[in-house]
């Protein structure tokens, strides 16, 4: 336990908690916009874990300047990876937002469950089948209900 109260210990705690909060939001939120925000949090936590993997207690930033030839530098690789991951994240975020706009326009709702049930009905109608759950046994989709709802 004495290792916990160090810079790394606290930061690992923060990073994992951030991921878990994001994951929790992804699992329980109903609102599309809040799902998006949770995704951002989840991603931020993962990025922090990645940066932490390259951290050295007394290291300096990995830039060669005149005065620092002898010093120990932090690992530059995770930093480069996180740069990439952050930019990817913002691209996906904008993409998700544009899809949310269209979904809101079409269904007039921001509730994931409403949208999902409407979507299932539409699919069933397209296929020419009675929608699941209308008069028969409960929808068989329940069987493969997973991670995300």
């Amino acid at each position: 336990m004495n290792h916990f109260f160090t810079v790394e210990g606290i930061l690992y705690f923060g990073a994992i908690s951030l991921s878990i909060i994001g994951l929790f939001g992804l699992l329980v939120s109903k609102n599309l916009f809040r799902l998006l925000l949770s995704l951002v949090l989840f991603e931020a936590g993962a990025n922090l874990v990645l940066v932490l993997s390259g951290f050295i207690r007394n290291g300096i930033a990995p830039i060669f300047l005149d005065g620092n030839s002898g010093a120990v530098m932090n690992d530059p690789v995770p930093q480069a990876l996180v740069l990439t991951a952050i930019v990817i994240g913002v691209g996906v975020q904008a993409l998700a937002l544009s899809l949310i706009f269209r979904v809101k326009k079409h269904y007039g709702s921001m509730d994931m469950r409403t949208i999902r049930s409407k979507l299932e009905r539409e699919i069933a109608e397209n296929a020419g089948v009675t929608p699941p759950g209308s008069n028969e046994a409960p929808a068989p989709v329940k069987l493969i209900e997973g991670e995300n709802s």
Binding site: I21, L37, L41, N74
Partner: protein, 92 residues
């Protein structure tokens, strides 16, 4: 340094919880910007200046801008007092 980190981490986690539980969406977006700012500080502490700059520019800046546009377009941009002044421009 360790106390700085502790405080920043706690602010970050509090803001992250606020993102999930604040009923007002504008506040939630602002809270997510706060999370990004705290991350920027943490990255700077971790001696990762490139990442800190990116997080500040993209996480706190651009991402919040995108989310703000989203708020406006999705009709969450409602603050009662201002809306009364600018009647007629309300988005639904």
């Amino acid at each position: 340094m360790i106390w700085v980190v502790t405080v920043v981490v706690f602010i970050m986690l509090a803001a992250a919880l606020a993102v999930l539980f604040l009923p007002n969406m504008i506040a939630a977006v602002v809270a997510s910007a706060v999370v990004s700012l705290c991350l920027t500080v943490i990255f700077a502490v971790l001696k990762a200046p490139d990442v800190a700059m990116t997080e500040a520019a993209i996480g706190a800046g651009l991402s919040s801008l995108i989310l703000a546009i989203g708020l406006k377009r999705l009709g969450y941009w409602k603050t009662d007092s201002i809306d009364k002044v600018k009647a007629g421009e309300r988005h639904d």
